[in-house]
């Protein structure tokens, strides 16, 4: 790709992002028979799933069921020792496990990740501006002024004052840190956003506003989303479809409302009941099955 091509690609991405109604065709993510072994332990077992354009899908499962591993497998972030089988197709590219360059070309451009604990994920030696800018720098050949404009616009959209652009992560609150995380994930207008329990590291009061922010930004960008959360209220509000994972296998998938209402599998029922009890009685986020 030469410089102009990249600029075109960038312009297209951003255009599509601002015209969500156009982004409804085609397949965003396609996973077939994905299996992952780490040190002879099977952590994912024949996982098959699809995510369509502008579709928002939830993923629930007990602690240790393999949710994070699934995210890592999809994005090529598994530990080096992992043995991977099956097919992943993302953005029309069929990805070979271990082809780090191919995954890297999609990460931060086609797929954006929001991490669970921004305090640990944000690079402590990068300022907010540098951090949010990183995916732009890595994927697009823009001049400094243009990059800065985009970053500042993004900061505004995630509700961060421009005055924080020069701050470092340790100078921000947990909620502000996660806003930086969201801005970084969204700065290139990726087609798919994956969020793995994006608010468990935050105070209960901040959680809701961060989730609402994330969902509304994803929605207005017309992007697709894979959302891992224990908050069933959020799940039914933000996702249309939901998958249940248990010991590395997808055991149930379906319409979110129906699934939460009338779970078919005993494992799902356990999960849903536990979550409901907790959601109704105690702090909604502080459960780990």
């Amino acid at each position: 790709m030469n410089r102009t091509d990249m600029k075109d690609a960038m312009a297209q991405d951003v255009d599509v992002a601002t015209r969500p109604q156009l982004a409804t065709s085609g397949e965003i993510l396609r996973v077939r028979d994905l299996s992952v072994q780490i040190a002879d332990k099977t952590v994912l077992d024949d996982v098959t799933l699809d995510i369509g354009a502008s579709e928002r899908v939830g993923l629930i499962g007990a602690s240790g069921s393999g949710k994070s591993m699934l995210v890592k497998a999809i994005t090529g972030l598994l530990p080096r020792a992992a043995r991977v089988g099956g097919d992943i197709t993302m953005g029309g590219t069929r990805l070979q496990a271990g082809d780090d360059a191919a995954f890297a070309a999609l990460r931060g451009r086609y797929v954006g990740l929001v991490f669970q604990n921004p305090g640990a994920a944000l690079n402590p030696v990068l300022s907010v501006e540098q951090q949010v800018c990183l995916p732009l720098r890595l994927h697009y050949d823009l001049d400094a002024g243009e990059r800065r404009d985009r970053v500042m616009t993004m900061l505004e959209r995630v509700g961060l004052p421009a005055s924080l652009a020069g701050s470092y992560p340790h100078e921000l609150s947990g909620g502000q840190q996660q806003r930086v995380g969201i801005a970084t994930a969204l700065i290139t207008s990726p087609r798919l956003i994956i969020a793995d329990e994006p608010t468990t590291a935050l105070d209960a009061i901040v959680q809701r506003s961060i989730i609402d922010l994330l969902v509304s930004l994803v929605e207005s960008a017309g992007a697709s989303m894979l959302f891992i959360t224990h908050d069933f209220a959020v799940l039914s509000r933000a996702t249309t479809r939901c998958m249940v994972i248990d010991r590395g296998r997808i055991i149930e998938t379906g319409d979110t409302a129906a699934l939460l209402h009338d779970p078919r599998q005993p494992q799902t029922r356990l999960l849903v009941n536990a979550a409901k009890t907790l959601t109704l009685n105690v702090n909604p986020e502080h459960h780990h099955a």
Partner: protein, 327 residues
């Protein structure tokens, strides 16, 4: 800025404490330069005369004040034995040892860091474990043994491929820069290889500890390959630790090179110290010990300042919130 000022004040206080310590220690330890100089058969009167000429008959506070005042002006007195000024004596020996240490450290870093990265990041597990073994074995080789081997391989006149001088330092010193530099190559490689193996192990360990970190994962999520993320983010976040290790290595080399200097017959600081201590040359030894120890303190200062430059979390703004951190 505030940190810098505090750190400099602390450094000055530490230097003062150090000077007291060295002064006191040398007054307590047995051995009298005057009687050594006078010879075994000297009369007490002769010894006393020498003592008074050297100022050793004055009160301790006075001696201390004289010494400190002299130090501040770069005047460390005249060696009772050699008759040269202590400053020029230290200068001419340090002119061998310091460049040797710097060269050794350069060798150690330029081998240790890239090889350490390879040992952590090489695609093939076989390559990684071979490199790791090299690091462990390399660090266990005694410098003396490694130096001998190098002399046997490359030493001019004795070695298999005798291309480099292995004994002594040119008489003209650094006035013949080429010859001087060349005579330091084998010694620097000897010290540098052993230290480099240590740096390689640290680099590898630092990088491996970063491998599963969320920060590296996030850099990858932004679009870096694993290798890029490890080298640009993992290594950068290990930089403060590596600076500490390099500083420690440097400090260890100050004593470590003494063995190598004697093997390669270089008249460095080690030879000077051994000589002066053996002669009970109090005037020279107290300044030499002080400067040597002061050099360690200076290294500590530099390492600290580099930490601050490398890590914004240690910066000014945290300090206002976090309060005193150098109490």
């Amino acid at each position: 800025m505030r940190y810098l000022i505090w750190r400099l004040i602390w450094f000055a206080v530490a230097l003062l404490g150090l000077s007291l310590l060295v002064f006191a220690a040398l007054r307590i330890l047995p051995g009298d330069v005057a009687s050594v100089m006078a010879g075994t058969n000297a009369t007490p009167a002769r010894v006393a005369a020498i003592r008074s000429r050297m100022g050793l008959d004055r009160s301790y506070p006075q001696q201390y004040a004289d010494w400190l005042g002299g130090l501040l002006h770069g005047n460390m007195g005249v060696s009772a034995i050699s008759g040269r000024t202590v400053a020029s004596q230290i200068g001419s020996h340090a002119a061998i040892t310091l460049p040797l240490i710097v060269l050794s450290l350069l060798v150690a870093l330029s081998i240790g860091i890239p090889m350490g990265c390879q040992a952590a990041l090489a695609g093939s597990p076989r390559v990684r474990s071979v490199l790791h073994t090299i690091a462990i074995v390399g660090g266990a080789v005694p410098a003396l043994w490694g130096g001998l081997l190098l002399i046997m391989l490359f030493g001019r006149g004795v070695g298999l491929i005798g291309i480099l001088p292995s004994q002594g330092f040119p008489d003209a010193g650094w006035h013949a820069p080429r010859a001087a530099l060349i005579s330091l190559i084998l010694p620097a490689i000897t010290t540098g290889l052993v230290a480099g193996a240590g740096i390689m192990r640290y680099t590898r360990a630092c990088l491996i500890s970063m491998e599963d970190s969320d920060t590296v994962a996030m850099a990858m999520a932004c679009g870096m390959t694993r290798r890029q993320a490890m080298l640009r983010v993992g290594l950068r976040l290990s930089a403060a630790q590596l600076v500490s290790v390099a500083g420690l290595t440097f400090a260890q080399m100050i004593t470590g090179v003494m063995v190598v200097e004697s093997l390669f017959n270089l008249p460095g600081l080690g030879a000077m110290l051994i000589n002066d201590v053996g002669n009970r040359d109090l005037i020279a030894v107290q300044s030499e010990l002080f400067l040597l120890a002061a050099f360690f303190l200076l290294l500590g200062l530099l390492v600290d300042l580099m930490h601050h430059a490398l890590d914004p979390r240690l910066g000014e703004r945290t300090q206002h919130v976090g309060g005193e951190e150098h109490a």
